[in-house]
């Protein structure tokens, strides 16, 4: 196949360039979208088909130590969903936590060409990089967990703001991360140091450090702003899953003081009601605030009924779930940096809280006034597998289908939401925004999520169908970097995507200040901690825009 492609007669959905379902030809050369190609270019007749940029998952858990622990934990699940090899692709296993190869291929078969792993502790980032290198087809990157970092806390305690910023930049560079991730800020010290306790308020003081989670969050948002990271701090708020956590989530958003911030899987943080009582939907308060504040982006973290796996750096949360559902439970403490909890889970329609969460997610989508900032995710595999995205898209686009679904669920829970009254249907253009253009913009990926000249030639072509689940489940063609990876629904070739990372500038002197802390409190040598460029493999540095 020539490196030139021409897609003709397709209906394009390219919101970033205000193209909404118009028929345009699309030219591809050397992995990029170009103005024209030679007559010898391979032609794809997309007549009666929908052409969109490849989709971008802004928040999922697909690679690294906690994901692999969950893989090891679930042989019984892999057994039920094997992923045979083909003449061109590797074998693997699927289920709720697929093997690396199955992950890449399955994202591709849904038209996804980029996915971001949302939580990796720096000391085990090498592991994440190795797995991402074994995750085919898609481009990928990861967010590094710094929100419970002992050394950074020490700097904040001592009020050393400048060094704090330099150290963050050092860490992002040292592990080749994309941006910083904060999870249940301040909780690690209580979990590990105070017999499994947890932070309950963003204004309470963190043991040993005389600082509050609120102060930590503020400081990260400010530092990331000054460093000009392509994507702002990606925040998993405190009190996830606790009734009444709306207040905590609002406090967290306010802590950003108008600066860019991404609130992860916000559905899990939109609970009304009183602590230790049954939750009710608090979506209205949350979505009103988000609608009114341009600085905030969020992904919904939709819950889908069926299998899930709680897999999080929020160890106290997994412990809470373990006491709801006595199943095999994993806890993994990472020195000076993070905690981790894993527990297999399943969301059931008859269960009050499960239905409530499902409905809250849909409320968030349907009450959102800006699809560019309220983005699609299931927090895979926490709310359900990424393989549910097509079904979720149908729930958003097809109100009749949604009404049927409402009949199947716990009605008492529905009573605590507005979902029955919401008739909105997403358009294909809006779907293109929440799955492509929006995540790409929120991530600062200028070459993704659109089909303009110079964009990466990551393209999905669907045969238009009434049943949107069926349509989004099986693209006819998937093109990655200008290569036709899926042709007529079958893999035509294997393909290796890029690692996406950022390299914020910083003053090298900071290393000399971090090193002594390592000698005292880390079990690896400082000199062996930073990850060499050999682990980048095929990669792309996404530029930062420092404010100075």
């Amino acid at each position: 196949m020539s490196s030139e492609l021409k897609i003709v007669n397709g209906r394009l959905y390219d919101p970033a360039n205000n193209v909404d379902g118009e028929v345009h030809d699309l030219c591809i050369k050397a992995g990029k979208i170009v103005g024209s190609v030679s007559a010898s270019a391979t032609r794809i007749d997309a007549h009666g088909m929908v052409v969109m940029p490849g989709a971008v998952d802004i928040h999922c858990h697909i690679a690294g130590p906690k994901v692999n622990l969950a893989r090891k934990l679930l042989p019984e699940d892999h057994r039920l969903d094997v992923h045979p090899k083909t003449a061109v692709t590797r074998s693997g296993t699927g289920g709720i936590v697929p093997s690396t190869f199955a992950t890449g291929y399955r994202y591709a078969t849904m038209g996804y060409t980029t996915a971001m792993e949302a939580a990796v502790p720096p000391i085990t980032a090498r592991h994440a990089l190795e797995e991402l290198d074994d995750t085919p087809v898609i481009d990928k990157g990861f967010y590094v967990l710094l929100g419970n970092n002992a050394f950074l806390y020490k700097l904040l305690k001592e009020g050393r703001k400048t060094e704090f910023k330099e150290a963050i930049a050092w860490w992002v560079n040292a592990v080749h991360a994309y941006t910083v991730k904060l999870v249940n800020t301040g909780s690690d010290e209580l979990w590990k140091g105070r017999k499994n306790a947890n932070i309950t308020d963003v204004n309470e003081t963190i043991d040993h450090y005389d600082i509050t989670p609120n102060h930590v969050i503020e400081s990260f948002v400010e530092a990331a702003h000054e460093l000009g990271l392509p994507h702002p701090p990606h925040i998993h708020c405190n009190n996830l899953g606790h009734s009444g956590n709306v207040a905590t989530t609002l406090d967290t958003m306010k802590a950003a003081q108008g600066r860019r911030v991404h609130i992860a899987h916000v559905q899990f943080h939109s609970f009304g009601g009183q602590l230790n009582e049954n939750p009710v939907s608090g979506v209205r308060e949350i979505i009103d605030y988000i609608n009114a504040h341009q600085n905030i982006t969020t992904d919904v973290g939709q819950v889908m009924f069926g299998k899930a796996t709680a897999m999080t750096a929020d160890a106290p949360l997994a412990w809470m779930l373990r006491n709801v559902r006595f199943d095999k439970w994993v806890n993994a403490d990472t020195e000076c940096e993070s905690g981790c909890g894993i527990i297999p889970f399943s969301y059931q329609q008859r269960v009050y809280t499960h239905t409530l969460q499902w409905a809250m997610g849909l409320e968030l989508f349907l009450l959102s006034e800006d699809p560019w900032r309220v983005l699609l995710s299931t927090d895979h595999p926490n709310g359900g597998s990424f393989m549910n995205y097509p079904k979720l898209i149908r729930l958003l686009m097809d109100s009749a289908y949604r009404r049927e679904a409402l009949q199947q669920v716990n009605q008492k829970a529905l009573d605590k939401t507005q979902l029955r009254d919401l008739q909105r249907e997403y358009t294909l253009n809006e779907i293109a925004i929440i799955t492509r253009a929006g995540p790409a913009r929120a991530l600062g990926l200028a070459n993704k999520g659109h089909l303009g000249i110079g964009a990466d030639a990551d393209i999905t072509i669907y045969t238009e169908a009434e049943d949107k689940e069926q349509m989004f489940n099986a693209p006819r063609y998937v093109i990655k970097d200008g290569v036709m990876v899926i042709e007529d629904h079958e893999f035509a070739t294997d393909h290796k995507g890029k690692l996406l990372h950022s390299k914020p500038g910083y003053n090298q002197d900071i290393a000399a200040q971090i090193e002594p802390f390592f000698e005292d409190y880390y079990s690896v040598k400082f000199n062996n901690y930073a990850i060499s460029d050999d682990y980048l493999h095929h990669h792309e540095e996404i530029p930062t825009h420092p404010k100075v």
Binding site: K72, A87, V330, T334, C336
Partner: protein, 452 residues
């Protein structure tokens, strides 16, 4: 950061100093070695901070004068070796690969790829090490931690069925007993150390409390402890049965419940004895139970330098940690069915590729007898009982001494290696990559290996 500097010694020898090098002899994977390398003699003459095992590892891995490839005992070229190996693997109906725990992850990844390509069976030394702990993990999960966390916080350290003083000499001094930590300012003084074993060993002196139990009664003692932690009654004859008094059990339970941060290290005294995975499972369950009262973790003390990496690589590529079969064109897992000791002892495998391990010395007689009947390919830095019986034998460079790559410490922390001096022998990754390319070529087109 420059970790290596080259100088001249008094005797005018070319000397290289490698700082922060990593020892891959055992699962401690200590990364604070300072190696003095005699570049003229191609040997390491000093290994600062290495333990007695580490020193032996560094000093004894010199460049031996051996042919890179032997086929049926006769020297051959690397290409001939790779071709013969590839032919053996594609012509086998049940080819197996075993070993891998002394190879870097980069090589392990290629090995899994080869077995995926030929629809073979891949297993690592995990299956005869802490494989049972892996099975226990699949049953009940695990509360665990990195070794630095234990160094910083653990005030109660329990070793069960292990003898680290001889198997992992720096486990006490670098990670879990003597070092000072963030919340353990006085090192050992701030920790209580308990050792549980059936006999006194060189590890015993480190213990504040030594619990000697009757051989084969670990599970009963662990079960009694679980019951007592949960406030349940236990049989009065517990001491007669296990050799451990009720008073001692009650004392242990109190100490465990009241610890600030407790850890249970489990050794092969649990996984290799009657009860196997249930013994490990009992430890994991006990640690989980204790989290109702305080913070408690457990951790298997892993043996080989990169056995933990092997678990991780096989898991992320297949979804299962060891004993994986690709006969059907996708991974299947079933310990006892697809684990190497079994497929050999039952006479099922019809070709074997053994990487950096010595089943011909360590397996049961039945398994060894079958291994002698089938074509064997070996990759090893040293002569072993298995290289002696192999049809194709590759002499490879030693990881961590001659070649780089990634290894995982027993607590899943990945570390990059700093080779000390070059070797004329290829790395196992290079040999495996050559074999992968050949088997892929041989199977392309007419592909009988993609099963229904």
């Amino acid at each position: 950061m420059p970790a290596a500097t080259q100088t001249k010694s008094q005797e005018n020898k070319n000397i290289k100093i490698v700082k922060d090098a990593t020892c891959t002899f055992c699962g401690c994977v200590c990364d604070d070695m300072e190696l003095t390398v005699d570049l003229d003699e191609h040997r390491i003459t000093k290994a600062k901070r290495a333990c007695v095992l580490g020193r032996a590892w560094f000093y004894e891995h010199t460049l031996e004068d051996r042919p890179v490839v032997l086929i049926d005992g006769k020297p051959a070229s690397l290409e001939e070796g790779i071709e013969t190996a590839a032919q053996i693997l594609v012509n086998a109906k049940f080819p197996i690969t075993y070993g891998l725990s002394d190879s870097p992850c980069e090589a392990q990844r290629v090995a899994v790829n080869i077995m995926d390509t030929v629809n073979g069976n891949i297993d690592t030394t995990t299956s005869v090490c802490h494989g049972p702990s892996g099975m226990a993990f699949q049953g009940v999960g695990e509360s665990t931690a990195t070794l630095g966390e234990i160094r910083n916080r653990a005030d109660l350290v329990i070793y069960w069925g292990g003898n680290p003083a001889e198997s992992h000499p720096r486990h006490f001094t670098k990670y879990a007993v003597t070092p000072k930590g963030m919340y353990i300012p006085n090192g050992k003084k701030d920790r209580t150390v308990v050792l549980v074993d059936v006999r006194k060993t060189p590890s015993t002196p480190v213990a504040d409390i030594f619990v000697r139990i009757k051989p084969g009664k670990d599970f009963e003692v662990l079960w009694a402890l679980r019951a007592l932690v949960k406030g349940k009654r236990i049989n009065a004859n517990i001491e007669a049965e296990t050799g451990v008094s009720r008073e001692l059990l009650d004392d242990l339970v109190e100490r465990m419940k009241n610890a600030q941060y407790g850890v249970l290290f489990l050794g092969m005294g649990l996984t290799m004895t009657r009860g196997r995975h249930f013994n490990s499972g009992a430890i994991y369950s006990l640690a989980a139970d204790l989290n109702e009262y305080t913070h408690f973790v457990a951790k298997p003390v892993r043996g080989h330098g990169n056995v933990t990496g092997a678990d991780n690589v096989v898991s992320w590529q297949t979804g299962y940690p060891f004993g994986v079969n690709f006969n059907r064109g996708f991974p299947r897992f079933n310990p006892g069915e697809f684990t190497t000791s079994d497929v050999l002892a039952r006479g099922e495998a019809d070709a074997a590729m053994i990487i950096a391990s010595d089943p011909a010395a360590n397996f049961s007689r039945k398994a060894i007898e079958h291994l002698k009947k089938i074509p064997v390919i070996t990759l090893d830095a040293k002569e072993t009982h298995t290289t002696k019986i192999s049809k194709v034998r590759f002499a490879v460079a030693t990881y961590g001494i001659n070649t780089g790559g990634t290894v995982y410490r027993m607590d899943d922390v990945p570390i990059s290696l700093r080779p000390a001096f070059d070797s004329p022998f290829p790395s196992d990754q290079e040999v495996l990559e050559g074999i992968r390319v050949r088997v892929t070529a041989l199977l392309t087109g007419h592909n009988p290996r993609i099963a229904a």
